[in-house]
Structure formats: C-alpha cells, structure tokens
Symmetry: none
Subunit: 462 residues, 2 copies
C-alpha cells in the first residue's frame, strides 16, 4: 500500500492547468501519474483520447452480478494566479497545521486520492471483494468539460452498464458535518451586446438625440427582476417543482444562522425571493444574475462620451425539472421583446448545463423508483459517514453547477452519490488552496467502508 | 512665416493627455512647443503654473485705446483609447484625403494652430496693427479645467481689461456653413459606485441571496429617464428657459435633414425628448447620459461571478439658467432615494460647468447691452466668414460644453466669439480624430480678416 499523502504531493507537483496550453507537460504528467498509480493497485488502465485532454479509465472487472461503481474525479486544476498571493509555491505542496497546501489539493486531487487510497487499502485487505470498480478521471473539468459529453456518448455501451457514480467534488460546511449533495443547479449563459451609434459620440454634441446603449441595457436588466426578488421573465418558474418537506427539514439542520451568513458575505441585507430564506433561495430557486457589464469609459475621472456599444453577461442557475433550452428560449424572447427599437442588439450564446437532482432513499415520502444498488450505496454512505465523522450526513442541494453530473444521468442513465469533502476554508479556485488532512484521513476510511459495505449488501441491478 | 501644417503635425506628436499622469512628458512637450511657437512670432510668453497643468499666456501689447482680444485654446487632448480602432497611430499625424488624422487634430490643436498662423501672417504683413492680442492656452480642458478658475481669479486684474475672447473650440455642420456658437450647455458629472458582497462571489453558491451591484445600478439608471425621452429627476427642468423665436429661426437654416443626421449617427431611430426635433433637443434641452458602466467579468466567454462592485459614470448637460450646483443636488437626492438599501454605494463628485449664452448683435428683437468692441468683433466675424466660406454664418447654440466660457464671463466679465471650425466627421473624442485641411486654410484666412477688420473698426471700450 502506498503512502496517500506522499502520493498526493507527487500528484500536485504536476501543474495540470487544463485551460492553459503552456501547461501541456503538466497535464501529461498528472495523467501519467494517475494512470500508473491505478495500474499499480491492479486496475486495467486505458487512456482514452478526446479532442483535447484524454480521460483515464481504469477497470476492476468481476462477476456481472456484482455491483458496479464508477468513481469520478479530475486530474486538471485551476490556474494558480495571482501567484503573489500564495504563501508557498502552488505546485510545491507543503503541509502546515494539518493542511496540505497546493493548487488542486482540494479541487480535486486530494478527494480523488482519498478514493484511490481507500480502494487500494480495501482491495489489499479484500482481494476477493465482490465489487466492480471503474475509475473515470477526466482532464477538462476546470474548463467546462468540452470533451466529456462526446466521451460519454462514445463509451455509453460500456459505462452505462454500471450502477452509479461515486465522487467527491462538492463541499461540506464543517469538518464534522458531511453533506451528500443531492441536487445541483443547471446553467444557461448568454451575453447581450447593444449598439447605438456607429461610433462613440461626444455626449455634448449629440446627447439628447439617441438612446445610449448603456441606457438600453440598464432598462433591459432592470426589467429582469421584480421588486420581490423574483426573476421577471414570463414562464421562468413554470417548471420549478415545489420543494419537498424533507428537503426543507434537512436544510434546517445546517446550523448556520442568517446573521452569520450575512456577515460572511458582508452585505447590508439579503435580497432573496420573497418567501424563501437565503439558504433555501440559493438551493431551491432558479436565478438570473449579471456576471459582467461594460461600456463606455472605464478609467479614472471622466470622458464625456456616448458609447457605441455596451454589453451585459447574464447567467441563469436552473433547478431540477427546468430545461436549459426552454429557459434560453424564454430569455431570448424576453430580451427581444424588451429591447427598444432605437438600438440594435445581438444575443451571444454561451454554454449551458442541465440541473440535477437525486432523491436519497429513506428521505422523501414519495420515494423515487431507484435501483437497489443506488439505494444500497446511499445507505452504506449514510452509515459510514455517521460512524467515521461522528454525525449523520445532511442531504442538501447545492447552488453551484457540475454539469457533467446531469450529462452522466442523461447519457448513461446513472445517478451520483456526491460525498462533499472540501470545506469553505479550502480556498478552491483561489490562492492558498489547501486540503484538510483530517478530512482526508476520515474520507479514506468512509470511502473504504462505503465500498465494502456496498459489496456486502449483495444489492444487484434489477 | 512657419508652415502651419508641419507645425500642427509637430504639435500633435506630443501626446498631451492631461487626464493621465503617465503622459506628463507629452504635456510638457506640447506646452513647450506652444510657448516656443508664440515666442517665435514675437509674443512675450509666460508659462503660468497652476496646481496641475500650467497655462501658456502670450502677449502682444500696444496702445490702451486699441481693441484687446484674448485668443483661447488648449494644448491638452483626450485619451486615445480604444487604440485598436485607429487606422493610423493617434500621435503620429498622417494626411489622408485632405484631412490630418491624429488625437487632438480637431480638438483643439488644429483650430488653435489656425489662429496662431493667422496672427503670425497678419503681424508679418501688418507689424503696426492697432490690436492687442493675448493668447491664453490651457492644459486641462479635457479634464474639466480644474485649475482654470483659480487661474482666472488670479489673473483677473490683467485679463479682465481685455474686450472679448476669440476661439475655435466648437463645431460647424458643414465645411461651407460656419456656425458662430452663441450658447453652450453646462455640465455636471459624477460616478455612482455600488458595492454588494465584500468580495466577488461564486454565482452558483450564492446566487439568489443578495442584490447584485450591477442589478442595483441598472435599476437606478433605468429610473433616470421617462419613456418620452425626458430626464426623470424631480425638478430637473424647473429652470429651463423657453427658446427665443430668433434661435429657432436660425436653427431652421441649418439645412440638414433628420434623415441625413440619423444616417450620420448610424442609429435605427432617434430618441429625443417628445416635442423636440433632434436638432433642437441637442441644443435647447438638458440631458442625462451614461458615459461608462463597468462591473464583473469583462473578457471573452464566461465567468460565473457576482461582482463585489460596479460603477456607472453619469453626466448631465445643462442649458442656460440651470445652475450646476442645484442640479447636482437634485441628482444626488434622486440617487440616494432610489438606490436600494441592500447594497452600499458611494457618489463620486466629478467636475461641472455653467451653461453660457451670448446674444449676437443684429439678431434678437431684444438686443443685449453690448460693448462696441464685442459688437464690432461679431460684425467682423460675420463679414469675414461670409466672404471666405461663401455663406453667412449661422448663430446657434451647441450641445457641447466649454465650461471655461461661462467662467470667463463670470470672472473676467468677457463674452466670447466662438467660430466653429470642426465638423461632425472630425470624430472628436473618438478614434480616428481628424481635422479638415481646407477648413484650416479658410479658417486662417477668416481669422486674419476678422482680426484685421476689428483693428480697423476703431471700436473702443466705452
């Protein structure tokens, strides 16, 4: 059995920034590292090429009656800048106060290593374990996984026969309170670019004659929410499902006060949709946000110009049962209907992602029709987490989006068990990213127990 | 006698962007250039320091009974960005199709050079000319002339004894139709900076919980106009005077069709205040414009962030009888009343300027009590322009602002004769600014004739 911490350090030393072509060697290094590691613990490894970064697939086969779990992870990381804000080198891992610092430590190399080590230890102890395991480790997660959907389509026949996906690429609020994420919001993104005059104009010579494109966009943007905090786009909420009582009850156990959350954000007051607490609003409701706006003079002082162009970048988070294509259509109709006729405008498509929800067993009064293996996996996870971390897990939806989870569901028909292993203080996507080594240790134990107990459950695909 | 075009090129090569401290050397270069040029044609030059950019004063004295004209200009220019839209380098002047391209070519280096060359030629021919001339050339016009008012106060005793100010820092509609500008709009500028959370937030994890500062600003901006195109700020129009019939009559002679103007701007339709033609709206009405807006992600693609901060830069143009301080007060009250309480915001003062109007002789039925020298100057200008350009000048107000004109009136008690030398196609404050060299040639001739005929008029201060 290898030393998980030393192996994780080795993994982090490969600067695998997928979005930056300058880090091609780091990507190859991290990929080879993962492939070799999985080979060394007895897996049959295949590196599947895609249009961009290959996916590492590693299999432990077995009897067709054994449960089959796919463990997902990604070997790529976010860029490390701004480098000046790091206390230690981002790609030279360093342990300080029970935390391992380095880019990718928490997202996702640490959690992935947690599962690899758990599997290694389990199989060393139980070489006969009646469980089929496939590691599926991609290299484009931090750039929106452009090759992952084609990969899934291509591998559908093979991977679709598995029972479920197990992964740790979501968060938990505290080290003693693990969350099993059972819902993720979807996404629709687009830009609106408004054009007034054919070039920037002197605001004195021509001011008062035409509609400024900034004004046109401000009027559009101001129309997109109602004073009660809801999105003001006809039909936007049509497909939003009522929140089930068990979900509200689960959320109530989160144990963070609104005042704590308000102070964490540093805002004078919340502005959530009427009738929802901030904790509910961010998980149960769709949103429309302005991610960027720009036009005209951006510098110090003044420039008395009427800009020719202005843009706004809009994203919507969607909740389960909302369809990104339908929402995109509603949004575009609304923009077209509301933009004034005295400016021209263009809508620029950006990407999208489908929302995802899974109902864990023993929670809802209206339980979903679930495969016995998935139900057994949830129950195994519940017991193992309660035992190892000392507290039962919470089942919460998360406001963020991991579009590949919905893609896996759609293409392979598989649900996911998302065991949240990173914490708010891990600084994901930010300088001084770190992974809590106590969480890693407990996570390994929990993962090992989950897989062992799932194998022991004898649950079979129906 | 120097070559005016070569000298103008030399002048433009000094990148004298007053608003940007990085261009300190360009400012000094332009200033030294002007001082030397005026010295070379026999003027006694003085560089008067101010808190920021010095003013070049150059005098040709003479008998106290001679008319005394102050010729105003500015040696500073607007920033040149966006640089990518320039066809030639902004500070490497280039002649194409009878136009000289470069930042400041029209605003104001070209027109200023026109007068310097006219004076040089005139004095070479008539060294005994009975006319006192003072050049007063500042370096802060494009940043709102913050030092100019203190400068005027300081130089009041000396400059206040002149008879009037002559300048070309306004426009004319066509190269054969010169306008003598007899009214200028005032200005009030300010920024609003809105802050939501204390740092940028992940729009998935926190979206739907707080008011995005972009949304807050969009809602504010959208509230500042009514659908009829008027500014929606209580009290904004209270002090706006009715337009005199002679002014409407003069404007009717402009001879540009709305369709031509619309095509020039390149807009699908006008959006002027109800009841006003575009030509009237830009001259007779106050405005509120958004000169810049920014916040969040500005790059290609997407970044799903809720920005911590967003800003908008607002300017109002004011018409005669509106008081900038009162309008500023109304605006700030409105912003404070309308900004939501769930974001914080700051109003950042920028500069302001008082509107100006002068009634030329022989126009209004209610002629103003005017000095004989000013009246003689107007009449000289009328004749010279008619002769050189082939058409009588029009007397129009302009939508732009030259706040120092109102300051000169207030502090020195002097009116201005504003001979408009730049044309709509000159692209002031925009990429590919240029100056029409035929206008420059005729402008020199007209300026020379105006000054010579004024000297010959024998008009004296009463």
């Amino acid at each position: 059995m290898f030393d998980p911490l030393e192996k994780l350090k080795e993994f982090i030393r490969h600067p695998s920034i997928s979005a930056d072509p300058a880090f091609k060697a780091g990507m190859a290094g991290a990929r080879d590292f993962v492939a070799e590691l999985l080979g060394s613990i007895g897996f049959k490894v295949e590196v599947v090429t895609t249009k961009l970064h290959p996916v590492v697939l590693a299999e432990r086969g077995g009897d067709a009656t054994w449960p089959h779990v796919i463990i997902y992870g990604h070997y790529d990381v976010q860029p490390a800048d701004p480098l000046t804000l790091w206390k230690s080198e981002p790609f030279e891992p360093e342990v300080r106060h029970d935390r391992l610092y380095g880019r990718g430590a928490a997202d996702n190399k640490g959690p992935l290593m947690t599962h690899v080590a758990a599997v290694a230890r389990l199989l060393e102890r139980r070489p006969d374990l009646p469980l089929r395991i496939t590691f599926m480790i991609e290299g484009e997660e931090e750039m929106g996984s452009p090759s992952f959907l084609p990969f899934l389509e291509e591998q559908k026949a093979r991977l679709g026969k598995a029972d479920f996906v197990f992964l740790s690429d979501t968060g938990s609020p505290r080290e003693d309170q693990i969350v099993i994420t059972c819902g993720l919001r979807g996404l629709v993104l687009f830009d609106v670019v408004a054009t007034g005059a054919k070039s920037d104009l002197h605001s004195g010579l021509h001011g008062g004659v035409l509609r400024n494109p900034i004004q046109a966009l401000a009027e559009l943007c101001a129309s997109l929410h109602s004073p009660d905090g809801r999105v003001n786009v006809p039909g936007f909420y049509d497909d939003v499902l009522d929140v089930e009582p068990w979900e509200r009850a689960e959320l109530a156990k989160l144990g963070q006060s609104e005042e704590e959350y308000r102070e964490f954000l540093g805002i004078p007051a919340f502005h959530a949709a009427a009738g929802y607490t901030p904790f509910e609003a961010t998980r149960f409701l769709p949103t429309l946000e302005f991610n960027g706006i720009g036009g005209g003079y951006q510098g110090e002082g003044t420039k008395t110009v009427i800009p020719s162009k202005a843009f706004v970048k809009i994203s919507c988070r969607l909740v389960p049962n909302q369809n990104p294509a339908r929402i995109r259509d509603l949004l575009y109709r609304t923009v077209r209907a509301r933009m004034p006729k005295d400016v021209t405008f263009e809508i620029v498509d950006q990407h999208e992602g489908t929302p995802y929800v899974v109902v864990p067993p023993d929670r809802s009064n209206t339980p979903a029709d679930q495969s016995p293996v998935l139900a057994a996996a949830f129950r195994s996870a519940h017991r193992a987490i309660a035992e190892v971390f000392g507290k039962e897990p919470l089942y919460l939806r998360e406001g963020g989006s991991v579009p590949i989870i919905a893609d896996i569901k759609r293409v392979l028909g598989l649900d996911s068990v998302l065991m949240g292993l990173f914490l708010p203080e891990d600084n994901l996507h930010a300088p001084n990213e770190s992974f809590n080594l106590k969480v890693m240790e407990k996570g390994m134990l929990a993962s090992e127990k989950i897989l062992e107990s799932l194998a022991a459950s004898g649950a079979m695909r129906t």
